[in-house]
């Protein structure tokens, strides 16, 4: 089959502040891959980057696009780049040809070199060869090539005038092969565990590449229709199946979509959790698909808006981290500084949907990428020594992913080149004001609170964790599995069903209760540990001042022996980025109790360093966050240097550390209570501790912090419950419910929902120098009777203070 010429690339050629900054970033980057370029002599005029055989051909196709782009667009500055433009152009052509020859459609003897990715070395790419066993992998791996095809297609499109006949024919074969294979196939269903949002998304993108570049091909219409069907099925909820909405071209949505990939709360699961990278897939692949439309001069394809704002606005904006990435509310199994894909989603929101918040988040991402890159000698984005960062011990290192960042920046550039600067970014304060508050994701299994200068979350499914982040969010605190709840390792390892034993990874909880209003939430659950050996009751309450309270109880159902229990687990980010000293200075100052602050340096390499401390009433990390503790068994800090799998430099702080423990049936560990104070230092914590009281007895766990009562019940019925404090204060705070005060013993009784938890604000004060009984009604009326008085009287406003 002979090739068809592509449509011309049409662009208004906008130059915006974004295109200028990105072009400089790419010029600074290019010397890194250029130093890792090799000739390939199996066919003439060929070469490859890195070790030549990454998954799905992405290494070569990303680099083909980056080099094609730098060869043809922008004001190239050879001094800044340290690589001649002609050399970049030459590498682009050679790489494109290497990809063509080693693709399934190329000559049989042309296979990829024996590089580092052992499962891909010496094979062709294109989807025919599938290295993982099993039928699910066949579709997963074959279709995933769509991502790579889109890079390849864009590179070939940009370079078309410079390609010889042979290369053009091969490029046409590569691009159209994918579209022919998948355009009329059925997209897939999947929401739990392994959503097919990602698969449907990349397949749509791969098919659309051919349709957009070769619109004159007789099959182009079939490809276009198939691509739109696949991509819209990447973001479909059950309710969409009843929808009567029409797309911009009048086509009924329901006539296209037919597979469900998103929960009704607009979350979805991949790698077993609600994972921001994969929830982003239906958006970012759609955005990338639409770039082809923009480059060909067409408007957006019909359906571009399908559930965009539902996903972006309900999850990505409220879960935005400080640098514009998404906070992984159910932990992150990749690395933390992973914002390159979501930046394209922000750009698309800005340019396609005029979203000023998208513009702000795009700016934050670009600011951060620019800052980190400027600190690296070879122009890499994520780390200085990327070869030393092992992502997967058998075949992936961080160097493999550096071109990911560059290629996504290229896409952001091309978007702005086509569509201009777009709407101005909102002010950060406006963003926080609009996005703040509580959001519950009942299907995803998390509830979050975005505070003005903090972020807190509680997850009860997939990977139950709880955490509180300060203002710079993921740059200080990370979200490892078992955050707050802790890893509980049994001596016998529960090998009969380890993966479901909730030891080092909690997969499920029971008895979940979530109470929330617009501004705060209170959540509780029971975690089964060791296949029924232990029940851990947990509750997590957010407070109006952005602090949070965590209650933990542990009771043995059977006799059991624990090897360790990292209760009160907090992940600590401890990076060094020379241009981000406020977030990543390369060390943390840890203060435990009244000890002097200790410097904890963050670096990769060497053994982990473990520091153990006696139980302390308060702990602080720099001035980023501090903690008040009750019932802690000791504090441990793990300076983490040994990374079999790198995910950024992540230390661990254990606020309630247990080594070996033997528990008899019915025994309990002492109640542990942790108050997280985001953006507060040790001095604040010390002062706050003076006004912190934990109930000594009663039917409910509770504490008084300053003038607020915080409680947690693990009782399954609605009851009137009581808590008793030893309170020696001049003024005794009064809370809704009834109370009595006798000789410094303060008993509060309140009606509590089943397994209810939450807080009550003080409605007035009684005189601490006298015994009294009081009743506070829901409307705030306070009735009080001091010792010696017969009748209750209504406390007047003046008397309350």
């Amino acid at each position: 089959m002979s090739y068809i010429n592509p449509a011309p690339i049409k662009s208004d050629g906008y130059r915006t502040p974004e295109t200028e900054r990105i072009y400089k970033m790419l010029m600074r980057f290019i010397k890194f891959p250029a130093a890792r370029f090799h000739l390939w002599d199996v066919r003439p005029n060929c070469g490859y980057f890195f070790t030549g055989c990454h998954w799905y051909g992405t290494d070569q196709n990303e680099m083909a696009l980056i080099t094609a782009f730098l060869a043809k667009y922008g004001d190239y500055d050879e001094e800044l780049a340290e690589v001649f433009r002609e050399k970049v152009h030459d590498m682009a052509i050679r790489t494109l040809r290497y990809s063509c020859f080693t693709h399934d459609t190329g000559p049989e003897d042309c296979i990829r070199v024996m590089g580092r990715t052992k499962q891909q070395a010496g094979t062709k790419w294109g989807g025919n060869y599938v290295s993982w066993p099993g039928l699910r992998s066949k579709f997963f791996q074959s279709s995933q090539v769509g991502v790579s095809i889109s890079y390849f297609g864009l590179a070939a499109w940009i370079l078309w005038e410079d390609l010889d006949e042979e290369t053009r024919q091969m490029a046409y074969n590569v691009i159209t092969d994918y579209a022919r294979r998948w355009a009329q196939e059925e997209s897939r269903d999947g929401v739990h565990f392994d959503t097919q949002a990602e698969e449907n998304g990349w397949t749509g993108l791969g098919i659309f590449t051919a349709a957009a570049i070769f619109p004159d091909d007789p099959e182009a219409k079939t490809w276009r229709e198939g691509a739109i069907r696949w991509i819209l099925d990447a973001a479909t909820t059950p309710l969409d199946m009843y929808s009567r909405r029409k797309l911009s071209d009048g086509t009924p949505l329901r006539s296209i979509i037919d597979h469900i990939t998103i929960h009704p709360d607009y979350t979805t699961e991949n790698h077993r959790v609600v994972h921001p990278d994969y929830l982003n897939a239906p958006l970012v692949f759609r955005a990338r698909m639409n770039l082809f439309s923009a480059l060909s001069g067409a408007g957006s394809f019909p359906g571009i808006e399908h559930n965009w704002e539902n996903i972006y606005g309900n999850v990505f904006k409220p879960c935005a981290s400080f640098e514009g990435g998404a906070i992984p509310i159910q932990s992150q199994d990749w690395w933390y500084y992973k914002i390159h894909e979501v930046v394209v989603t922000h750009t698309a929101s800005r340019l396609l949907f005029n979203d000023p918040y998208g513009a702000l988040l795009e700016k934050k991402c670009l600011d951060t990428l620019e800052a980190t890159q400027l600190g690296h000698s070879e122009g890499t984005f994520m780390a200085e020594n990327t070869d030393e960062c092992i992502i997967s011990s058998s075949y992936q290192i961080l160097s493999d992913f550096e071109p990911h960042v560059a290629v996504y920046l290229t896409i952001v550039y091309l978007y702005h080149m086509c569509l201009g600067e777009g709407v101005k970014p909102s002010a950060p304060e406006e963003f926080e004001s609009a996005l703040g508050g509580v959001r519950n994701y009942p299907f995803g299994g998390s509830v979050i609170k975005r505070g003005e200068r903090s972020f807190s979350a509680f997850t009860h499914r997939n990977c139950p964790i709880a955490f509180t982040l300060p203002e710079d969010k993921m740059w200080t605190i990370t979200v490892p599995p078992c955050s707050a709840f802790g890893c509980m390792k049994f001596k016998d390892d529960c090998s009969e069903d380890y993966a479901l034993s909730n030891q080092e990874y909690i997969r499920y909880s029971e008895n979940t209760r979530i109470y929330h209003d617009k501004n705060n939430f209170a959540a509780s659950a029971t975690i089964d540990r060791g296949l029924g050996r232990i029940k851990q009751d947990v509750s997590f309450i957010t407070l109006p001042d952005e602090s949070t309270v965590y209650f933990r109880r542990v009771r043995a159902i059977e006799n059991c022996s624990l090897e360790y229990f990292t209760s009160g687990l907090v992940g600590i980010r401890n990076e060094y980025y020379v241009n981000l000293p406020q977030h990543a200075a390369g060390y943390r100052m840890l203060t435990v109790g009244d000890n002097p602050p200790e410097k904890k340096e963050g670096y990769v390499g060497g053994d982990d360093v473990i520091s153990d401390y006696e139980a302390a009433p308060y702990v602080a990390l720099d001035d980023k966050i501090s903690y008040l503790l009750h019932g802690s068994n000791g504090v441990r800090y793990v300076s983490h240097h040994n990374y079999p799998k790198w995910k950024g430099i992540e230390d661990f702080l254990v606020l309630d550390n247990y080594g070996e423990v033997n528990l008899k049936k019915g025994e309990q560990l002492p109640l542990f209570l942790q108050i997280s104070l985001p953006n507060k230092d040790i001095e604040y914590a010390k002062a706050a501790y003076k006004d912190f009281y934990v109930s000594k007895e009663g039917s409910i766990d509770a504490c008084i912090l300053s003038d607020r009562l915080i409680y947690s019940s693990f009782i399954n019925t609605r009851s009137n419950l009581s808590c008793v404090f030893e309170l020696d204060r001049e003024r005794i705070p009064l809370f809704e419910g009834s109370a009595s005060y006798r000789n410094g013993k303060y008993t509060c009784s309140l009606a509590v929902e089943p397994r209810g938890c939450g807080f009550k604000d003080c409605t007035g004060y009684a005189d601490g120098g006298r015994d009294f009984d009081s009743v506070v009604l829901p409307d705030g009326t306070v009735l009080i009777r001091y010792a010696g008085e017969t009748d209750y009287h209504d406390m007047k406003e003046g008397e309350k203070k």
């Binding site: 039928l135 009329q184 196939e185 059925e186 997209s187 069907r229 037919d258 597979h259």
Partner: protein
């Protein structure tokens, strides 16, 4: 492709109250479908129940299974059934053959009769023909034949000793066609 003989059916010979009740119910039921049995003269010794073209061939294959079962198992009571056992056996073989001929693996000209189900009338069954549009329905309708294949398979297995060479080969083709199509899907 020549056929392979099936393994023998291992009958455990239990006799439970449930079996007796069910067999009595089947005997009372069988006169109902038998009223609706018709001959099909496109190929020798064929026939079909009802209007001959239900979804996925389910009508014929269910009846093939039921009649095969009643021909070979249980204490048949002709008085209660209102029909002779030999008549049932004959209908069974005719129905299996109708199913075989009209399956995707049968001769091209053998399609099902123009019955009440307009979307299936005049077509073959087996999964190749899919009247509903869209890729989702392709899998839904093609794979759903599995329900019917299992009925045909049971009927053929029970009747194997009574089937001629032609019918055995066709039955083998129909049953294995489904397995080969989906096992590596």
């Amino acid at each position: 492709m020549s056929y392979i003989n099936p393994v023998p059916i291992m009958r455990r010979g239990h006799d439970t109250p449930e079996m007796s009740r069910i067999y009595a119910m089947m005997l009372k039921f069988i006169k109902f479908p038998c009223k609706y049995f018709q001959l099909w003269n496109v190929r020798p010794n064929c026939g079909y129940f009802f209007t001959g073209s239900h979804w996925y061939g389910a009508d014929q294959n269910q009846m093939a299974f039921i009649t095969a079962f009643m021909s070979k198992y249980g204490d048949f009571d002709e008085e209660l059934a209102g029909i002779t056992r030999e008549e049932i056996r004959d209908m069974c073989i005719k129905t299996i053959r109708y199913s075989c001929f009209t399956h995707d693996t049968g001769p091209e000209d053998c399609v099902r009769v123009m019955g009440r189900n307009k979307l299936q009338s005049g077509t073959k069954w087996g999964g190749n023909y899919v009247p509903w549009p869209g890729p989702r329905n392709k899998f839904f309708q093609s794979s759903q034949v599995g329900g019917s294949i299992t009925s045909l398979g049971f009927a053929v297995w029970i009747m194997w000793e009574d089937l001629d060479e032609e019918t055995r080969q066709m039955a083998y083709n129909a049953i294995t066609d489904y397995a080969e199509r989906w096992v590596n899907y």
